[in-house]
Amino acid sequence: MAEAEGAIGTGVESELDEEDFAFSRSYFLAKETGGASKRKSAPKVSDINPVDEQVLRTTLSGLPVKHGKEIKTLLNSYKDLYPEWLFELRCCLGVLTYGFGSKKTLLEDFATSSLTNLGAVVINGYLPSVNLKQVVLALAELWWAQSHGRRRSSAREPSGAQSMEDLISSLDEKPTKDVESFVCLVVHNIDGPALRDTESQRYLGRIAACSAVRMIASVDHVNAPLLWDKKMVHREFRWCWHHVPTFEPYRAEGVFFPLVLASGHAAQTARTALTVLQSLTPNAQSVFKALAEYQLAHPKEEGMPGNALYGMCRERFLVSSLVTLKSHLAEFKDHDLVKVRRNSEGQECYHVPLADDALEKLLQELN
C-alpha cells in the first residue's frame, strides 16, 4: 500500500522534473540553433581515435559491472513482488515488466523459483528471428505432458505436422474452472526485433489468450505500448504493468547492436567493398585502383572524369574499348563501389563513396 502512496508522491515530483526538463531542453536547443552558424563543421567521430573493433569488443566483454552489489540487492528486493505476480498470473492476467536494465535474470528467476512443477518456455525476443510455431509446439507439448497425467483426454499428442491454428486451439481446450494449472510463457523483450512485426504480436496475443497459457514478459523500448491494439491489450495480453528497473547490463540483448565507435561505418564499408572487389577480375580490380588512386591524389575534385579514366585505363592496358570500361563501371555501380556526379563543367565524374582513410585501407588490402 505504501507503493500507492509512493506512486502518488512521485507524481508531484515528476511534475517538477518535467518543468526542469522542458527548461533545459529549450535552453540547449536554443544554444544548438544559435551555435550552428558559428561552428562551420562539427567534430568527427574519427577525431576520438576509436580503437579497433576487435579490441573494443574484447574490452567490452571484460568490463566489470558498476554497482554490482547494489544491482543484486535491487534484484533481490523484487522477490517481494513474486507472490503478487504469481497471484496475477493465477487470476488470468499477464504480467508485463518495464524499466531500465535487463530483466532477463529477474524473469527467469521468477519462473524458476515461483512456478515450481509447472512447465515454462522462454522466448528470447531480442534475437533477430524467432519461429513462433516452434514455440507454440513446445508449449502444446508441455501442456499435453502436464495435463495428460490427470485428464483422460482423447486429444492426441501435439506434433509439428499440425497447423498453428490447431496447436493454438489445443492450448485453449482447458476446462474454464481449472484455473490453477497452466504453462508459463516467459518472453524477454516482447518488443524486440524478432517479435516487433504485427503478425508476431497477433500470434503472441492469441497464445496469451489461451486458457492454458499465462504470459510474463518484459519490454525495454519506450514506445512498446504502440505495438498493441485494444483487442490485444484488453482481451488477449491483459497486461498488468510492473515498473522494475534493474540497471543490469543488456549483455544478451545488446549482442546484435553495432558499436557506435566501431570505427564504424568506414571500416565496415571498406570491408564490404573489398569482398566485392575480390570477386571481380584482376582487370576490373585494376580499373578500380586507378580510380581510387586518382581520387586520393585529387581530393578536392568532384571525381575522375569519364574520358580521363578511359585514357588512363587504355594507357595501362586495362581496357581495350569504352564498352569494356562501361561494363566494369556498371558492375561497380551495382555494388555501390562507384558513384557518378557532374563537376562544375558538366562532365560526368566517377568517384568512390568512401572516406580517404577507408579508401587507403582498401587499396592496401587489395594490393
Binding site: 554497482h67 496475477e88 531500465f100 522462454v122 528470447n124 484455473v179
Partner: protein, 724 residues
C-alpha cells in the same frame, strides 16, 4: 501432492543464473513438469470450491508441511483463501456483467433471429434449395432476384469494435441454439495478405471442419447437401466491416452471391460507423447483391449504465471500489478509452490487486457465504495475532481506541458492515432508478455517493448499530442529499409524471423488500398514488392533480430521508478496507504503465534506485561512480535533437576520469567509494572508456531513446524523446 507454486525467499540468491548458451537460442524450455509430480489442482487447492474451507484456518487443523515452516504455511493458506475469494467474487462479477449485456442484447438477437427465419422462408419459397439442385452443375438458370443475399446490418453505435466482439459471438450462439449454421468471421480474415482464400479458409474451417489451402466453395455445397446439414440457414457473421479490406470483401460477396441460389447464406455485418460505410467499402456490383435490413445495438453509455447498476449496487459481491478509484474508472471510460472492455479489464485489475494486496480480503466472503455468524466468529477468533493487529491498524479502526482487540470484535464489525452495506446499496439502487428516468450516468451517482466523507457529516442518526459501528457513527448522518447529483435526483422525483412515479415506486418497492421500515412507506406511497389516480381519473381527467404532486413531494421526502439515514460515508465504517479497493495509484500504474516517462526517470534518478551512497549527493553533479548509461543520458540532456558523438564522448570521458570523487571518502565509511562502484580511475584505458561509452549508447538505443548515426549525419546520434 505438490504445490505448483513456491514462496520466494528474499534472502536467497537469484535462482536463475546466466546461461550464455541459452541467451542465443530463440526459445528454450526452462522447466518441464516432472512426470511423478503431477499438479492436482483440485486436491491442493480445493479447486473452485463454492464454500470457503474454514477448517483450514482453525489452529487445530493446521498441519505444517515438512518443507514449510508454520508461519509460511499459514501465509500460503491465507493466500490460497484470498485466491479462492477472488475467483468466487470475480466469477460473480463476470457473470453479472455477461448476463446484463446479454439481457440488453436479447431483444435485438430475437429480432435478428426472426428476420433470419423470415428471409430463409423467402429463400426456401423459390424451391431451388433441394439437394438435387444444390448438386446440379452450376449455373442454375433463375431469376436475378434470387441472387440477392439477405444481409443484416447491425449498427453498433461504437467506433471501438472490441466491445462488440463478444456481442457477435453471443449472437452466433443465440442463432446456433435456434438451429442456424453459424460462422463468425473477423476482419483479419479479409486482408490483402490472405486474399479471398483467407476468408473461405476460415469459413470452411468453422462450418465444414476442414482446413483447405485453396478456397473451394463446392466443399461447402456438398457439406450442405448432407442430410443433417440441409434445411437450415447458413449465417455468416462478420464483426467489423469497416476494418475489412474492401476488394476482398467484395470478391467474397460476389462469390457468395453466385452460390446463394444453392446454399441459403445470410450475412450479418457489424457496422461501427454509419450505414454509408457499406457504400464506401464496396463497389456497386457487390452492393447490388445485398438485400439489407438494419438493426441497432445499445450504445456504450447505455451498456455502462446497465453494468454499473448491476455491479456497484449489488450487496453480495464482497468487493467494491473507493471514491478515487471510482472517479478514475469513470474518467478512464469517458476520457481515455470509451470501451466497456477496458472498463471491465480495469475493474478486474482492481479486484486482483485488492485480493492480492489486502491481507484480510478473504474475509469479504462474509457478504455472500451461507456460513452462520457463529462460524465466521470462530474463524475471526482463530486469526493469528499479526492479522488481528493488522485489522485494528486499518485507518477506519485506528481512530477507535478499543481496548479489546479480539477476533470477535472483527466478526462483529464485519456483520455490522454487511448490514449497513445492504441498506447502502438499497438506497443506491433507488437512486439509480431515478437516474435511469432522468437519463443520468449511474457511475456519476455512484462516485458521488461513495465520495462522501465524514467531514460532510453533521448530524447523528438513531439507527441501532453494534458497539464498534455505533461508536464510529455516533454523529454520522450524511448531507449527501444536498450533493449535486443526488440532490438533483431527489428534485427529479418531485417533477416526474404520475405514471413515471408509479413505476419508480414499483421499483423502489422491489429493491426495499428486505428493509421493512422503508418498504412499508413505499407501499403507503403506492396506495396513496393509486387513490389519487382513481380520484383524478374520475373528477379531473385533464387537469394536473394537486394530490399527485403531494405524492411526488412525499416520495422525494422519503428518498431524502433514506439517503440521510442510510447512505453513510463509507470511510467512517470500520473494516470497510477489507471490501473496498482504494489505491488508485496502484491501479493506474498497473493498468497503463508509462515506459516513456519511467525509463527516462530511471536513468535520471539511478542513484535513488541503486541506493548507493557514493552517487547520492545533494547537488546534481554527475559522479564517475554513477551508472554509465545514466551519466550518458544526463549528458545528452545538454544537447538538442542531435548529439555530436565526439563532444558527447569527451564529456563522458571527462566525467569518468575526474578524480574529484573517487578520492573522497564518504562520511562514515572507511573505504573509498570507487571500490564498490566500479573500476578504479587508474584502470581506465582509452579502450575501456570507449567500450563503456559504446555499451551505454547501445543501452540507450535498446531503450529507444536514441537513433544511431545516419549516412547524412555520421557523427551525430538523434535523440528520440525530448521531455518526459
Amino acid at each position: 501432492m505438490v504445490s505448483p507454486y513456491a514462496m520466494p525467499d528474499p534472502s536467497s540468491p537469484l535462482a536463475a543464473e546466466r546461461n550464455p548458451d541459452r541467451d542465443l537460442q530463440p526459445f528454450f524450455v526452462l522447466r518441464k513438469p516432472e512426470p511423478g509430480k503431477v499438479v492436482t489442482t483440485e486436491a491442493t487447492h480445493g479447486k473452485a470450491r463454492r464454500k470457503i474451507d474454514l477448517s483450514q484456518l482453525s489452529p487445530n487443523s493446521r498441519k505444517p508441511s515438512a518443507a514449510l515452516p508454520f508461519e509460511e504455511d499459514a501465509d500460503a493458506n491465507y493466500e490460497q483463501l484470498r485466491m479462492q475469494s477472488f475467483n468466487a467474487t470475480w466469477s460473480k462479477i463476470e457473470c453479472t456483467i455477461q448476463g446484463c449485456l446479454k439481457q440488453m442484447n436479447l431483444s435485438l438477437f430475437e429480432e435478428v433471429r426472426g428476420w433470419i427465419y423470415e428471409s430463409f422462408d423467402k429463400i426456401k419459397s423459390t424451391g431451388l434449395h433441394s439437394v438435387s439442385n444444390t448438386l446440379c452443375p452450376y449455373p442454375l438458370l433463375t431469376d436475378g432476384i434470387y441472387r440477392q443475399i439477405f444481409t443484416a446490418l447491425i449498427l453498433t453505435k461504437n467506433m471501438e469494435f472490441i466491445d462488440d466482439l463478444l456481442t457477435f459471438q453471443d449472437l452466433g450462439e443465440h442463432l446456433r441454439s435456434s438451429g442456424c449454421h453459424i460462422a463468425n468471421l473477423s476482419y483479419s480474415d479479409f486482408t490483402v495478405k490472405h486474399g479471398i482464400a483467407g476468408c473461405f479458409k476460415s469459413l470452411l474451417r468453422q462450418l465444414v471442419m476442414v482446413s483447405l489451402e485453396a478456397y473451394d466453395i463446392t466443399a461447402l455445397a456438398s457439406w450442405y447437401c448432407q442430410k443433417e446439414n440441409n434445411g437450415k440457414p447458413v449465417v455468416l457473421i462478420i464483426d467489423s466491416i469497416e476494418q475489412c479490406y474492401g476488394p476482398v470483401l467484395a470478391g467474397f460477396i460476389s462469390i457468395i452471391g453466385e452460390w446463394v441460389i444453392k446454399i441459403p447464406i445470410i450475412l450479418v455485418f457489424g457496422v461501427a460507423t454509419t450505414i454509408d460505410a457499406l457504400r464506401k467499402q464496396l463497389p456497386s456490383e457487390a452492393l447490388q447483391c445485398l438485400n439489407c435490413c438494419k438493426f441497432t445495438l445499445p450504445s456504450p453509455s447505455e451498456r455502462m449504465n446497465a453494468i454499473v447498476g448491476a455491479i456497484f449496487a449489488k450487496p453480495s459481491l464482497g468487493f467494491s471500489v473507493g471514491h478515487e478509484v471510482a472517479v478514475f474508472l469513470r474518467n478512464y471510460f469517458s476520457r481515455h478509452d470509451g470501451t466497456i472492455t477496458s472498463f471491465i479489464r480495469a475493474l478486474k485489475i482492481a479486484c486482483t490487486k485488492h485480493y492480492s494486496l489486502e491481507p484480510l480480503s478473504f474475509l469479504s466472503r462474509i457478504m455472500y457465504d451461507e456460513e452462520t455468524e457463529g462460524t465466521w466468529s470462530i474463524m475471526c477468533e482463530s486469526l493469528p495475532v499479526s492479522k488481528l493487529e493488522y485489522a485494528f491498524d486499518l485507518p477506519s479502526c485506528r481512530r477507535d481506541s478499543l481496548n479489546r482487540k479480539s477476533g470477535s470484535e472483527i466478526a462483529q464489525g464485519l456483520f455490522d458492515f454487511r448490514r449497513l452495506w445492504k441498506g447502502w446499496t438499497c438506497v443506491l439502487l433507488c437512486l439509480f432508478e431515478i437516474g435511469r428516468i432522468s437519463k443520468m450516468q449511474l457511475l456519476d451517482i455512484f462516485c458521488e455517493a461513495i465520495g462522501q466523507t465524514t467531514s460532510d457529516v453533521h448530524s447523528s442518526n438513531g439507527s441501532s448499530l453494534s458497539s464498534v459501528t455505533s461508536q464510529k457513527l455516533c454523529h454520522a448522518s450524511s448531507q449527501s442529499a444536498k450533493g449535486r447529483l443526488i440532490g438533483q435526483a431527489i428534485q427529479k422525483v418531485r417533477e416526474i409524471s404520475p405514471a413515471s412515479l408509479s413505476s419508480l415506486l414499483e421499483s423502489w418497492a422491489k429493491h426495499t423488500k428486505d428493509i421493512d421500515e422503508i418498504h412499508s412507506k413505499v407501499r403507503q406511497l403506492q396506495s396513496l398514488l393509486r387513490s389519487v389516480d382513481n380520484d383524478g381519473a374520475s373528477i379531473f381527467a385533464d387537469v394536473e392533480d394537486d394530490g399527485a404532486l403531494k405524492v411526488n413531494e412525499k416520495a422525494a421526502m422519503l428518498m431524502k430521508q433514506i439517503v440521510e439515514d442510510m447512505l453513510k460515508p463509507i470511510e467512517s465504517i470500520p473494516f470497510h478496507e477489507i471490501f473496498f479497493f482504494k489505491h488508485v495509484g496502484v491501479l493506474r500504474s498497473a493498468l497503463t504503465g508509462d515506459p516513456r516517462k519511467m525509463i527516462q526517470l530511471d536513468l535520471l534518478k539511478s542513484p535513488s534506485y541503486l541506493r548507493c551512497i557514493c552517487c547520492r549527493t545533494g547537488d546534481k553533479a554527475l559522479r564517475p561512480s554513477m551508472h554509465d548509461t545514466s551519466i550518458l543520458y544526463h549528458l545528452a540532456q545538454e544537447h538538442g535533437d542531435f548529439v555530436n558523438l565526439h563532444d558527447w564522448y569527451n564529456s563522458f570521458k571527462t566525467i569518468l576520469t575526474s578524480r574529484r570523487d573517487s578520492r573522497r571518502k564518504v562520511k562514515g565509511s572507511s573505504t573509498p567509494q570507487k571500490a564498490s562502484a566500479g573500476p578504479p580511475t587508474s584502470d581506465l584505458t582509452e579502450a575501456s572508456i570507449q567500450a563503456r561509452f559504446c555499451r551505454a549508447v547501445t543501452e540507450l538505443q535498446i531503450a529507444g531513446l536514441l537513433r544511431m548515426p545516419s549516412k547524412r549525419r555520421p557523427d551525430h546520434v538523434q535523440r528520440v524523446l525530448l521531455g518526459l
